[in-house]
Structures are given as C-alpha cells and as structure tokens.
Amino acid sequence: MAHTPTKGRKLLFTLIAWTIGFLIFFPILWTILTSFKTEAEAIASPPSFVFFDWTLDNYVEVQERSAYFRHFWNSVVISVGSTVLGLLVAIPAAWSMAFVPSKQTKNVLMWMLSTKMLPPVGVLIPIYLIFRDAGLLDTLTGLVIVVMLINLPIIIWMLFTYFREIPGEILEAARMDGAGLRSEILYVLTPMAVPGIASTLLLNIILAWNEAFWTLNLTAAKSAPLTAFIASYSSPEGLFYAKLSAASTMAIAPILILGWFSQKQLVRGLTFGAVK
C-alpha cells in the first residue's frame, strides 16, 4: 500500500537523518579540523571549532618524520592485492554455490559467515606462529593472504547474492554453445555480474584498507600499511593530537575519496537482492 508522509513528517525525518549523519561524521570532521591546528590549540579547552590559526605544519612534519608514501603504497598493495586474490577464489566458489548447490551449500555459507563472528584475537597466536615459521611476518605477501582470508566470506556472500540473480539458462546456453567451465565463467558469468563484482571489489578494498588488527600485529616496519602509520603517532612520550590527526587524515583521505566517488555503486551493491 502506498504511504505518503505529510510535509511536516518529511521535514522531521530529514532533520533526524541529517543529525544522525552529522554525528557519525563528526569524529572525522574533528580529526580533519584538528589536523590544521597547532598542538596547543588542539588541546585547548574549550576547543575552537573553526576560528583558529589554520596551519599546514603538522602535514609537513608528519611527512618529514615518517615515510607516508611507503605506508600508502603498502596499503594499496594489501587492499588491492587481497581483493583481487579474493575475487579469484570467490568467483568460482560463488558460481558453484549459486548454480550447482548441494544439500550442504547453505551450511557452508553460514559457517563461512560465522567465522566473521569469531573475535580475531582468538586466533592471533596460532596465526602469528604460522606466520613466524613460514617467514611471512612483516611481509606484504603474508598480509595480502591474511586480509584476503578474513574478507573472503563477505566476498563470497556478496557474489553469491549477485550470481543467484543471473538466470541459470544463460549459463546452460553457454554450455550448449561449446563453452567449458573456464569460458563460461570468463565470457558469460563475469561480464554479466560486472556491477556486482565492482561493488564487491570496492567494498573489500575499503575493508582491507581499514583493517587494523592483523596489519598491526603481523607487521613491524617494512610492510606496515597506513594503519600502522597512524598508530605510530600514539607514542609513550604522550599524544600529539594535531600530528596524529594529520596522519589520520592522510591515511583516510584516499579511501574517503574512493568511497565518495563510488557511493552509488556501493549502495547498489549492499542492497542488491533485497528488492527484486
């Protein structure tokens, strides 16, 4: 049944939505503003919101003190690498679950999802030991693998939801047309699922970029991504809010920009299959 809210209610809902949106965004805004303050202004009470002496000193110092671009590059390698590797594993997995399901498919999917509910710290020690013995500690290869594995359930679930929307007859037609499994996935399924694969790719790049637990625990200096770069600003000598904020802003800026430009794609990806 159609339900049209009145003008007053519409205004009220809009206000509530904007307030919630602002509250969620506030910490990021605070961080960005603080990054342009001096250390003294950053801890001043009451804090000044906009009227302070804007300075870029923090950014200059952060860049001088630590190699931002090396961390940035590591973040790129880890997020893009783990997502691409994840897709290579997940596309065939989601294909088989969507088009040749067995009695256990649902259970496997639920089991995969349940691994996301496990506190990562529970498996930190075994994974740390495996990494140590395999010589993977503080290597990009190791991080790509571990970040891929922790996001794999989400990648498979998202692709599975997409693939299920693709009529099976089209894949059968490909089989009748002489396509083997590889050609079927490569030439028919994947191009048809491009919107779904793109949203999965974007979401996983963001998740991998923001991943802090494993990247902090399994790296030292060489392969540390931006999360470790931010963490390095909370030092025993005390917190330097302005510099920490500048480092954080530099770390989140790329992913924020990526998210902004791809928001339409992301929203579509996350709500796909909800309404037919």
Binding site: P167, E169, I170, E172, A173, A174, R175, A179, S183, M192
Partner: protein, 333 residues
C-alpha cells in the same frame, strides 16, 4: 548426421523417478516433437539428450557414439531455450559468434557465417543491437541464429514459442518448419501445445509421467490413438468420450468420437440434444450439446450453422470414425 538413440534411460530426482526406463530412436533429419501436459517429463528428456542433466541409468548415443557421459559442450547439439537465454551483455553479432568462437573458428569464417545466418533470419539490420533492444520474435530469431551457425548434429527446442503472442507464434512455427526443410537437420522440439506438435512434426512422441504413451506421425496419432490419453490429448477440440449403453452396444468400456466426425442436423439424427454453448469462430462453429443418450458432446459444424443457445439439434456419429477402448483405457481394434 543426427541420429540419436536412447536406450533404457532413466532419471531420478531424489526419490522421485521422473523418467522410467525409456527407449527411443530419432532418425537423422527427422523433426520430432515431444508433447504432453506440464510435468510429463518432456523437458527433462530434452535436457538429458542435451547433457544438461545426467541420466541416472541407461545410454544415449549420438550418431552411433556413446554420449552418455559427454558434457553438453562436446555433444555437437544446439539448443534454443524458452527464455531465449541470449547473452545480454553481447550484441546480436557477438551472441551469434559465441559458439563459433568457442569452436575456434577464425574471424573471417565467423563473419561469413554470421552474415549468412543473419540473412536467413532477417537479422542483418539488428546485428549491432543488444538483446534488450529487440522484440520477442527478434530475440527468438537470434537464439535460432546462434544455434544454426554451429551446424549441429541436431537442434533441441525447449518450448521456444511459448513466450510469444499468438500471431507471432504462428509465424515462427512456419519459419522453424521452413528452416527444417532447408537444413534437413534433426530437430527435437518440446511443446505442450498439441497444435504445434501436429503442424510441425514428422513424428510425435506423446509423454505422460515420463512414459511414452505413443510415437507416430501426426495423422497416425489422430486416427489411431493407442489409448484414451493420446485420444484425448491429440485433436482440438478434444475427442468426446461416451460410456454406458452407447459403449456397451459396441463391446467397449468407452467409445470416443471426434467433434468433426459427427453430422449435425436440425431435423433428424441419432442423438437428440440441446445446444448449451455455441462458439462461432467464423470458419467453424463448435457446439456443446447436452444429449440424453450420450451426455455432453462437442460437435463441429460449418461456420454459418444457424444455431444458438437452447436450440434442439441432432447428432449422427460416423460409425467408421468411432474409437473403442477397453476398461484399462487401451484402444480396441
């Protein structure tokens, strides 16, 4: 070549046997139609031949070679689906080229074959469009184009016309028949529409619950149905069945007479009755007549037969066209 033989094939889904042991020989170049009501297993049978489903037991031979375990891609058959199943992200040209690309043809050969197919199917002007920009009939033609370029051993059609409107269906029916005459390739065609079956087939296979009830030419099925099911399924409007005294007098449990095999008169005849409904189609008039001796009967008259609801009419069956059936529903000679 396109000789297909099914030997004792069965198909079971879970605990349900949808195809009990079944034998069938399909000759090279034949147009064979599988017909039957929904759920009779006709599509499953086609999918078994295609290789899209695995047989539970039995053997499928294509041109003498055992193809039971061969994947669909390697059976050398082409299929046209009910939903067309075109690749939505490819142009018409690429859709038709796809099987050729999979078969490893070179580009010049592919282009030549596409142009030929497009000419035969009137698709030349649409080659650069996507399937989404085509009408139902055009999409179906693309699906057929994609099937013919491979020059398969046989074509499999799975209710290809059921998504089209009535007028287009008649046109496409003719086009497919013409195509068969031109290509002389084996065609296996699944439909639930007995008119399609009668008009297109060299031979019809009537199926019920996975069992072949009868195989024969359209006219054989029409004039010599093996049992009540085939008698009732083939022919439109369907055959009238009469029990009781009328059947007993002919030493049968049931007799059948087709609507077109009864003489209609306003003055005299064997069975007197009242018209309950008259359907005037222009070329024919179908009368539903309530008779005292034979129950409700459907009869076919001329288009201009002057009767209306409530009129008295007389029906006289042609004795040599009466079909007799025993208590098990099998035809008596």
């Amino acid at each position: 070549m396109g000789h297909i033989s099914l030997n004792q094939i069965t198909k079971t889904f879970g605990n349900v046997q949808v195809i009990p042991p079944l034998d069938l020989e399909i000759e090279d170049g034949e147009f064979i139609v599988f017909v039957g009501p929904s759920g009779c297993g006709k599509s499953t049978l086609l999918r078994l031949i295609a290789g899209l489903e695995d047989v539970t037991s039995g053997e499928i031979k294509i041109d003498g070679r055992d193809a039971t375990e061969t994947p669909p891609a390697k059976r050398g058959l082409a299929m046209v689906f009910q939903s067309y199943a075109l690749y939505p992200h490819m142009s018409v040209r690429k859709n038709i080229a796809f099987p050729l690309k999979m078969a490893g043809f070179d580009k010049a050969e592919i282009d030549r074959k596409i142009d030929d197919a497009a000419r035969v199917l009137n698709l030349t002007d649409y080659l650069d469009r996507r399937p989404g920009q085509l009408s139902g009939g055009q999409r179906q033609r693309v699906a057929i184009g994609r099937a013919i370029v491979r020059e398969p051993a046989a074509f499999l059609f799975d209710e290809p016309l059921s998504n089209l409107d009535a007028a287009l269906r008649v046109n496409m029916r003719l086009e497919i028949s013409e195509l068969h005459n031109k290509l002389e390739t084996t065609m296996i065609y699944v439909t639930h529409d007995q008119v399609e079956a009668m008009t297109m087939a060299d031979r019809i296979v009537v199926l019920r619950a996975g069992i072949i009830e009868q195989v024969g030419t359209p006219l054989e099925l029409y004039s010599k149905p093996r049992n009540l099911f085939v008698a009732g399924f083939i022919g439109s409007p369907k055959m009238n069945f009469i029990e009781g005294a009328v059947a007993e007098r002919r030493d049968a449990a049931k007799v059948g007479i087709r609507p077109e095999h009864m003489q209609l008169s306003l003055e005299e005849g064997r069975w007197e009755g009242t018209v309950s409904v008259s359907e005037h189609l222009g070329s024919d008039t179908f009368l539903h007549v309530e008779t005292e001796r034979a129950g409700m009967l459907t009869a076919r008259a001329d288009g201009e037969f002057p009767v209306r609801h409530g009129d008295r009419v007389f029906l006289t069956p042609q004795d040599d066209k009466i079909h007799r059936f025993d208590a098990e529903g099998m035809a008596l000679s």
